[in-house]
Symmetry: C2
């Protein structure tokens, strides 16, 4: 943890890392530091709660998508890609903090949720704080803010559509796919696109990576929902049971089945296998979309990331 | 209400209004339309709840500050100032929606609050949605996003500091002034600065308007807190009693007095008069800061706006 005061310069004080001497893990570590720098605040609870949720980890798949796409399309100055990579993770983190308020989630990533420790009022404000820090990080990036803003709006719209469906206890397959497209795939799409835009890649590469991001996002959310249903709480590190009880996630593919029967039905039938097949299909489409990119270790990293999405057990 | 689908173009389809043929009310009306256009969504609850809170009015003092400052420093193309003017009101509106969740406020601007009608989950998401729409509106404005981001962060920090003080039942005058500076004056400052920046005003005008905005913001919040304490619920159009019971706002000036006694003590003593004097002082400083601006009807409008802040009864 840094104790340094955050200034607008904080986004520019990262160590110089050039992709010629490039280490993927090092770049992802630099994203962590960028996040920690920007969320510094002299309001203790905002700083502490932000550090808590950021420090509890997460897969960092969204910033990886920005960084790998940037390098795979010829980006040379990792430093330039760090603030957008950090910003996209902060959008996700803010939504996670607010989601745990709405779902009464008490465990997140194997730790108590922000609302479990600091209460709902401060959790709400911490989420808002993280959203404002996204603005700060993205302020120097001009038109890329439009891509970012649209993805952030889609995220909130997807969460809202999900809450409506849960409230009405009516979640068709069609609505399920709309929800996961909005709440997850659009942000993945934005991340992969941003990487390409940051390297001034030709339009066909930008479009290829947008397709890649969208499809991997769809796959990611389907797998997440499968794991929510079959996983036990310890393995998932979050309150899977609550998600299920509230009829969220994978229940979609069950259409209007009674929520309590979801898990049993899934394990009995072949719906689980169908959902996994669907996720694998999305991954295949995603990987196929970037076949036009020149071969590179970063392109390989994008392919590995895509495969990891369907192979992961947590 | 428009039923038109929101696109990124929506910010650019305002009618042309030039300050040569300029009408202040017309400009403020155009801000309303800019807000309504941008919050259109095909997710019903987000659109309806946003329309509800925007349609319930408000004094629009923040967008007025942007517009009047823009014109007073030579800005000619009102259309260009509309999205930032709308964005600053949406930041405020988002914070109001979230504030009502945390305070269990059920009345806002004489209407039921968003959480009272749609519940806390959708109110939280509506606030988030409005925040993302701020990004969208501001995306084309480059470096001005830094001013905006810092003011939005200050707002959340101020709200948080207030919640901490309320929780600890310990609100010194010093902390009170820090809270109102962060949660109110910084956004007013940003609004007045933005107007000058948008017109490419010389640095001394930018700084003068920043001072103006800050001081008027301080005055505004002090008067708001006075009215919260002395006003009845109907007149204020919001849940004044709740604010008082939770020890917010004007209680600051009471230091650690027991909350239940605030109103009585205020009406007995001369503290109310002291607070009003303080607010008038801030207004005087604010008006004095813009004395260097050339005379114009827009400068007069800024002065009138400042005076209205201390004269208002609601």
């Amino acid at each position: 943890m840094t104790s340094q005061i955050t200034t607008m310069d904080s986004v520019n004080i990262q160590p110089h890392i050039h992709s010629s001497e490039f280490d993927l893990d090092e770049a992802v570590q630099a994203v962590e530091q960028t996040m920690l720098n920007v969320i510094n605040s002299d309001i203790d609870v905002l700083r502490d709660a932000s550090r808590h949720i950021i420090g509890s980890g997460g897969k960092r798949i969204r910033p990886k998508m920005v960084l790998y796409s940037y390098i795979a399309t010829g980006g040379k100055n990792i430093e330039y890609a760090l603030p957008p990579a950090a910003a996209i993770e902060l959008v996700h983190t803010a939504s996670v903090v607010h989601d745990d308020i709405n779902d009464h989630g008490v465990v997140r990533r194997g730790r108590p949720s922000v609302n479990a420790i600091w209460g709902r009022t401060f959790a709400l404000l911490t989420g808002d704080f993280l959203f404002t820090k996204v603005y700060e990080l993205m302020a120097p990036y001009g038109d890329l803010n439009i891509i970012f803003a649209n993805a952030a709006t889609a995220l909130v719209e997807g969460e809202t559509l999900q809450a409506v469906a849960v409230k009405n206890n009516n979640l068709s397959s069609e609505v399920y796919y709309k929800i996961i497209a909005l709440k997850t795939a659009e942000l993945f799409r934005a991340g992969a696109m941003l990487g390409a835009k940051l390297s001034d890649a030709p339009e066909e590469y930008v479009e290829a990576l947008a397709q890649y991001g969208y499809n991997i996002g769809m796959a990611f959310q389907i797998v997440d929902d499968i794991l929510d249903v079959i996983g036990d709480e310890a393995q998932l590190g979050k309150t899977a049971k609550l998600d299920k009880e509230q009829g969220k996630g994978f229940t979609s593919i069950q259409d209007n089945d009674v929520m309590d029967n979801v898990k049993r039905k899934l394990m009995e039938g072949d719906r689980l296998a169908q959902a996994r097949f669907q996720a694998e299909q999305f991954v295949e489409w995603g990987i196929s979309a970037i076949s036009i990119l020149p071969d590179s270790f970063a392109k390989n990293a994008l392919i590995s990331l895509a495969k990891l999405v369907v192979e992961r057990q947590f």
